[in-house]
């Protein structure tokens, strides 16, 4: 096991290098430069000023030199300073946005798994009944409805018409003067709409997945055996079937890890939530290379760690894998 872990971790190093190299090249293949966003079509810019700005950002050097410079700094965990006019360290910009995105995504993830698994199991055990079909329609509705449209409708209804919930942002004006408890309550109120919309939209994938693995497990011989020896249906489903059907879900959880720091641009824009999605989008639009690279590297790293964790958990949960038999 330790041997296996060490091998996997070592293999991540060339993989990370490859990922950074490719992303570094790809982002520079996009037409336009950071300097562009500042200077394009501005009457007050001369070629000389533009050249000065390019030198300031190190864009006048050949690409491989830029990459090596960047890599050296990253090796010391220095992601450089943003090319945006604020010139702030990339890590600062990411750090101030990660808590928001992370907590929002964790809440949504817990809700998603907490709702989708029972829904999937229920649909599987009531296969082809009216319940199953109703659930299918419901979750696919969530999947198909455009987030921004649903969000706006809910905002209008609960925010403008009824006035029950705040429309956007994370805090009410003047909330810094509230007591701890009401400050937290205020935050929760702001989270209700975004979290519900996010969860509703993501139920379909996982619940359908759960339903089909559950159905597959129910068809297995050992379930027939369990039934044959006269176990109660509840025990068969929840003790024997569910535990096996949950195995692939571990993989899905591993895959969700990088998603935790990635936000959705549309979603964050609609709800005015200052998260990672917006930061990344703005970075790409302004060709803010250090920022984009910083976010991508962290994302790639988390993806690799997520895969590793999923595999490890899998081994822990499933003796067949642990003992090296596929």
């Amino acid at each position: 096991m330790l041997n296996y872990l060490a091998k996997r971790i070592l293999a991540m190093i060339p993989l990370m290098l490859g990922i950074t190299l490719i992303t570094f090249v790809v982002i520079r293949l996009a037409p336009g430069e950071p300097v562009e966003a500042m200077t394009a079509l501005s009457p007050k810019i001369t070629a000389e000023t533009r050249q000065r700005l390019r030198e300031f950002y190190g864009l006048d050097k050949p690409l491989h030199v830029q990459y090596v410079t960047w890599l050296k700094k990253v090796a010391t965990f220095d992601f450089g300073r943003s090319f945006a006019p604020d010139h702030r360290p990339v890590t600062d910009k990411i750090r101030e946005r990660i808590p928001v995105t992370l907590s929002l995504n964790i809440i949504a993830l817990i809700l998603e798994f907490g709702l989708a698994i029972p829904i999937g199991v229920f649909a599987a055990t009531h296969r082809d009944t009216l319940y199953d079909k109703g659930i299918t329609v419901f979750v696919f509705l969530g999947f198909a409805v455009p987030t921004f449209w649903l969000a706006l409708l809910l905002m209008y209804f609960f925010g403008v018409k009824l006035g029950w919930l705040p429309i956007s942002g994370l805090h009410s004006l003047g909330s810094e003067g509230y007591s701890r408890l009401s400050w937290f309550g205020d935050l929760l109120k702001h989270l209700i709409l975004p979290v519900s919309v996010a969860t509703f939209g993501s139920l379909a994938g996982l619940s359908r997945y759960m339903r089909s693995t559950m159905l597959e497990v129910i068809r297995q011989d050992y379930i027939t055996t369990a039934r044959a020896k006269g176990l109660a249906e509840r025990t068969v489903i929840y003790r024997h079937a569910l535990r096996n059907a949950l195995l692939p879900v571990i993989t899905l959880l591993g895959f969700s890890l990088p998603g935790l720091i990635g936000g959705s641009v549309i979603f964050e824009t609609i709800f005015a939530i200052p998260g990672m999605g917006q930061l990344f989008y703005q970075g790409v639009m302004a060709r803010d290379y250090p920022l984009v690279m910083g976010i991508l590297v962290i994302g790639a790293f988390l993806t690799l760690v997520g895969n590793l964790l999923a595999d490890v958990c899998y081994a822990v949960a499933d003796p067949r894998i642990r003992q090296g038999r596929g």
Partner: protein, 538 residues
């Protein structure tokens, strides 16, 4: 920087007579209590400022917020006349080569330090410093020498008279005592600025809001409104819902919101809507290096085939006016006598025939020497008005036998792959109309190089001469003659088809009083806005 800040203030400009006939909306006048201190104005903005050191910023949210924190030496007043701000007065030497600013005494920085000519000198030096990544050095490179003979005098020398120079000193003055000897790109002033302006910085919650509070020792007096809160709401539909729910007090409306969605008694009771021409114009520009558009008659024909009023009504719902040249109607540089051809498809056909476009193919498209009259209009993604404009033009030109294709591109690749490489036939874009009428950079034939703004390659010796003449004198009457003549020439040459000047359409909560619309808009007098005691919310 000066012109940016002015743009922000002035983009909220009011013109009493609107071309389209409907009277400008007047805010409901309820019985108002006396002016009182207190309350807060919450403004919604799509974008977040990038830095509050204006010399480093090139986006309008940055300048909008920084504009309340800092002052320039000069500013434009409500009638768009240049007046003193941090400078009490100024003298221009008779030869136009020296400007002497006499600074106000007793002005304090927000941290209590005295404002002196040292601050002005520092701001000038840091702007032209090659190590400062700024987009604003150009105006100040014309300065031969700058000096501060005493703490309240600042003098600059130029090689040649340069009319836009005066307005350029409206750039925000930075505090030398906090910045001198430091790397400006790493200064914490970018996130917590210290200025001399009517509002001082309080807090910035990244991605959410910026809060400014009134500076009681402001040299023009304490502003009535205690706080100015700049809320970042990236989606305009959400912003509109926030406005209706009371989450923000002020936003710029879209034409649809202004004309359709807010025309209810309830909205009108709670908000005052304003309407005045903005400082921009949208145009259809032709690549004059392309043989298709080399003939002036062809360009005149296209202009005649396009109905500008139809575009104003279809795209702006009438909330704007047709443009005939590069200036804003009602300003001194604008020549009211210049009108281009007007909508006349018959004339368009005649002109095209004169230019040799006689034959028509089986699909009704004009032909000349075996070539079909077909071209592509490029415009940028994310601007629905420009795309709709292109579609209306497409339809109108089809009726005179010209085929138009439309291509919408992402901004950065639009500029790099198409504009910079002159790889376009026609574009729909817009320019900001500057306060100073110097438009040398857009129209002079020397400005056709890579990345320069005369990307359509317009060249007219008379225009070149007039542009030079106009920027070399401080005499407004002489300048007016130059710019009026330029508009006549442009109307004849039609290097662009000038399309429209949209209206700015702000809505402000009606609890705010003291708003006096003027040619400069409504925000110029924000420090005198107030909310009567009994109506204060925050």
């Amino acid at each position: 920087m000066s012109w940016r800040r002015f743009f922000c203030l002035v983009s909220l400009t009011f013109l009493v007579s609107c071309s389209s006939g409907s009277a400008p909306s007047v805010p409901p006048r309820r019985a108002a209590g006396p002016p009182a201190y207190g309350d807060a104005l919450v403004v919604g903005s799509i974008g977040e400022p990038s830095t509050l050191i204006p010399v480093l910023a090139s986006d309008s949210p940055s300048h909008e917020v920084a504009g309340w924190v800092y002052n320039g030496l000069v500013k434009y007043d409500k009638d768009l006349k240049l007046v003193g701000d941090l400078a009490r007065s100024w003298d221009v030497s008779p030869d136009g080569l020296t400007i002497t600013f006499h600074l106000r005494k007793g002005v304090k920085w927000h941290d209590g330090a005295d404002f002196t000519s040292r601050d002005v000198l520092y701001t000038y030096r840091v702007t032209i410093d090659p190590r400062t990544p700024t987009a604003y050095a150009e105006d100040f490179k014309q300065v031969k020498k700058a000096e501060a003979p005493d703490p309240y005098t600042f003098r600059v020398f130029y090689d040649k008279p340069f009319a836009p120079a005066l307005a350029s000193w409206g750039m925000n003055i930075l505090p030398a005592h906090l910045l001198e000897g430091k790397d400006i790109t790493r200064s914490e002033l970018a996130r917590s600025p210290v200025g001399t302006g009517p509002y001082r910085f309080k807090e910035w919650v990244a991605g959410q809001k910026i809060v400014l509070e009134s500076f009681h020792d402001y040299f023009e007096g304490r502003p009535y409104i205690d706080r100015y809160i700049y809320r970042i709401i990236p989606d305009s539909a959400t912003m509109y819902l926030e406005l209706k729910a009371g989450g923000i007090d002020m936003m710029g409306l879209s034409p649809v919101q202004f004309a359709r969605q807010t025309d209810t008694p309830e909205f009108r009771a709670r908000f005052a809507k304003y309407r005045y021409p903005s400082f921009t114009y949208t145009y259809l520009g032709y690549n004059l290096k392309n043989p298709l558009f080399a003939d002036r008659r062809v360009r005149q024909a296209i202009t005649s085939a396009i109905s500008k009023d139809e575009i104003v009504h279809g795209v702006l719902l009438g909330l704007g006016q047709a443009a005939h040249g590069p200036y804003k109607p009602g300003t001194w540089a604008y020549n009211p006598n210049v009108k281009d051809f007007g909508y006349d498809p018959a004339r368009a056909r005649t002109l095209l025939a004169e230019a040799g476009w006689r034959g028509t193919g089986p699909d009704g498209i004009l032909e000349k020497d075996g070539r079909r009259f077909s071209f592509t209009i490029l415009t940028n993604q994310g601007n629905d008005q420009r795309i709709k404009t292109a579609q209306i033009i497409q339809r109108r030109l089809r009726t005179v036998g010209i085929e138009v294709k439309i291509r919408v591109l992402e901004w950065a690749s639009f500029l790099t792959n198409f504009i910079d490489k002159r790889n376009f036939e026609a574009v729909i874009l817009a320019w900001t109309i500057p306060q100073d009428p110097d438009i040398f950079d857009i129209w002079d034939s020397s400005k056709t190089g890579p990345k320069e703004l005369n990307f359509i390659s317009y060249s007219n010796p008379e225009v070149d001469r007039l542009l030079e003449e106009g920027r070399r004198t401080f005499d407004q009457e002489k300048r007016r003659r130059c710019y009026w003549r330029i508009q006549e020439i442009l109307a004849w040459d039609q290097p662009y088809t000038f399309l429209y000047v949209p209206d700015a359409l702000p809505a402000v909560s009606s609890r705010f009083r003291g708003i006096e619309p003027a040619p400069a808009g409504i925000m110029y007098d924000f420090i005198h806005w107030y909310v009567p005691k009994e109506e204060q919310l925050h």
